[in-house]
Symmetry: C2
Subunit: 148 residues, 2 copies
Amino acid sequence: MTDSKQSLRLWLKLLSCSTAIEKKARAMLTRRFDTTLPRFDVMAALDREPDGLTMGALSEHLLVSNGNVTTIVARLVEDGLVTRTQDKTDRRVLRVRLTAKGKRDFRLYAAAHEAWIEQLLGDLADNEIHHLLSGLGRVKTSIERSGL
Amino acid sequence: MTDSKQSLRLWLKLLSCSTAIEKKARAMLTRRFDTTLPRFDVMAALDREPDGLTMGALSEHLLVSNGNVTTIVARLVEDGLVTRTQDKTDRRVLRVRLTAKGKRDFRLYAAAHEAWIEQLLGDLADNEIHHLLSGLGRVKTSIERSGL
């Protein structure tokens, strides 16, 4: 098999692994918490920012999950999990923050999510994880150096 | 670091690698061919099926790229790249096929896509790719056996 076919195989395998884990996480978030991955991603981004995020910054964080941020935030506001207020320094800007309830709920989701990932990857020994992490680190470096 | 943190690190690294590659592929498809990843994914699914696919089967193929299949197919029809016709055996079912032009265009996209992936992963030696493929194979097995 040529090099280019091997690279393609690696890419397809990477994609299929991350899609499979994401699919399981989506299903578990729905089943256990009646929530969605885009909602989880929004709350995770906000949980890392005590001062909250502007709608623009939030959209940039969420390229991955592709949800419509405005709609997601509106629903989270309805559910009392986030607030959306005018920025102090620029009133045209909306700033989004987790409420106390939002923080509590996110802690539950995040702990469960971590346990699911551990279960999903539970067959792998420490040294296998270690080797994968270093191999994937090489993938990241290669992408950055590719000039594409 | 505990096991569960290591699993989480591996998942985040997997996600960040596949997101990074996907982002580059999206940008290149737009820049070089003025097309999108969901269009590419639809055409790739159809290219593997000489008899085409029903709209339903196509939607299932495309959970990954999350696009609105009906809209994507309508645009591809407008551009002369696919046809959408009633199924012979069940007239309520729409069957989608690549046109000759669709097949030719897809060959160009696919060859370029393969070259980009090779460039993106070009730093990795054969044995590194080999080890990653086997490690990711173990990830797949672990997910399947997790019972989640």
